[in-house]
Symmetry: C2
Subunit: 168 residues, 2 copies
């Protein structure tokens, strides 16, 4: 018994994007209840040179969308990061989930040993598909999902790790 690329990627990304979507619902409701301008949360950062909430969500979506696109041989929709509202970010998540739903196990499995090169800033990183998923896509995805959570917690949203883990 071994574990497939599909089993590693798709349920993990799907579950935590669903969780992020529900957290954004709570953030939007919190802004409304407390009469906070939603922009104050969407642009909240933990430090001036860190990404704001908005970009953390966009980045989490992109690590899921682009990695599954490459591994499953799909051409996912292009997003220009123009989201302005919680509803826009939820739409971005929904479009990312649609890419995940389209992915099939076989091409992903074939990609496990394929060489994958990506640009990371000025540099080019080369991995096998398996390394790319385990050591690039997944940790980066969780990093941005956790940081989105941390930004909202820091801004007083009452969520707990159960929200991050999507446990009922």
């Amino acid at each position: 018994m071994s574990i497939t690329m599909y089993e590693i990627a798709i349920p993990s990304f799907t579950k935590h994007l669903d969780a992020l979507d529900a957290i954004l619902d709570k953030a939007a409701a919190y802004a409304e209840a407390k009469k906070i301008d939603p922009e104050a949360l969407l642009w909240a950062r933990l430090y001036p040179d860190m990404y704001p909430l908005k970009k953390q969500v966009q980045s989490a979506c992109d690590f899921a969308k682009l990695s599954v696109g490459r591994l499953a041989g799909l051409t996912p929709p292009v997003h220009d990061d123009s989201e302005k509202t919680f509803a826009d970010l939820k739409k971005r998540i929904a479009e990312t989930l649609a890419v995940l739903a389209e992915a099939k196990p076989e091409p992903m499995e074939a990609a496990a040993t394929r060489e994958i090169s990506i640009k990371a800033g000025p540099r080019e990183l080369t991995f096998t598909g398996k390394e790319y998923l385990l050591h690039f896509a997944l940790p980066n995805f969780y990093f941005h999902a956790a940081t989105a959570y941390d930004i909202l917690r820091h801004n007083g949203l009452e969520i707990g790790k159960r929200d991050f883990m999507k446990r009922l």
Copy 2:
């Protein structure tokens, strides 16, 4: 070609604990250079009811140590969370890395389909070993590693995602 439990768990935990260890070195050096009491960083939190840095590091270690212990059939050392300094936390990481180094692929693979029950607060969660690794241990581990990073960034430590990803 499929991916083993060992390949998913051991290199991921090892790499990001090494990264966290290097981040703690930078935090200790930052405290010294800026004449910041190290306690101010070790007890820093993003919100009053969130875990401080110290506990984020301890938790990341525990998700790695306890999951690999269970999956690989090891009895890892018990830690009582008494760490008081950056050096103590680095020792905790080193002892966690020693558990990872001891794990063998075969028992971990056999654990993929075994039922695993754990206590999470007042509730009992039951998984297969595979689900436990992918949907409990890994996301919780990355959550605490990212939050440790976020706390230090929020407190002015000059690190970047490259430090989190341990890219040279």
